[in-house]
Symmetry: C2
Subunit: 138 residues, 2 copies
Amino acid sequence: MSAGDLLSDRLRDRGFRVTMQRRAVFDAVVALGHGTPESILRKAQEVDATLNLSTVYRNLEVLEDIDLVRHAHLGHGSPTYHVAHEHRHLHLVCSVCNSIVEVPVETADSLVELLADRHQFAVDIDHFAIQGRCAQCR
Amino acid sequence: MSAGDLLSDRLRDRGFRVTMQRRAVFDAVVALGHGTPESILRKAQEVDATLNLSTVYRNLEVLEDIDLVRHAHLGHGSPTYHVAHEHRHLHLVCSVCNSIVEVPVETADSLVELLADRHQFAVDIDHFAIQGRCAQCR
DNA sequence: GTCTATGCAAAGTTTTTGCACCTGG
DNA sequence: CCAGGTGCAAAAACTTTGCATAGAC
């Protein structure tokens, strides 16, 4: 039967129900690439205008739980959510102009290896942004 | 007259006034090594029990402005403040047990160089923590 | 039909702001 | 004095929670 899309399969496998709200939240994350809970709400409300912010928070937690979504901290404000395994990159945040540049995660391979070797620490390198000053502002 | 301590000098140089609250906040940061606004308040209140949280926030901002204090993001919660130029190290935060390990900033030198060369980005490498899984939890 | 998920409203947390009073220079 | 700093209270921003109802299976 059903071709079974990734979202439905993953939800059901883990005992979660497939609801239109979950689909709307996931689709919003996909569409945005990156989004805060607030921006994800606004995007998802294009599909379902009655969708509630608390539903967004609850579903982002579920989507992270089933490894479809991840979040990163890019600054002082709300965390940013993105699709897991897509858009894997470091975020360079400029402390002067707040611009964000994305660079390949491989850029940090040597650091990742060092931390593994010296400290047996398995780095999730893109969870936090890297702050500094960009080419224009330095 | 006054030997002129660092705090007074730096404040006056930049046109800020020297108040006992500023001294208490700065002393608390020094004493704690690392502290959230809340923990800094508690520490500073040992000296001045009437000190207010909003004064702590305002003065941490001033102290950062005059480069005596810096803050880092170690997780989802409040930022952590520390004395500038002291305690320079990376924070490895375990996503499982939340333990924090400090490692020398030099560990990331190769990443810092790469970002400077390739992206003309001047990294403030210890502003954000590095998340991952520690030796025990991996 | 059962049990999870949702909407709504309220509360919790953390940080910021307005304002009258206080104080350093 | 007087501009800047402080305490207090209120507001703002962000996130979580309780509960009655709706909806997935």
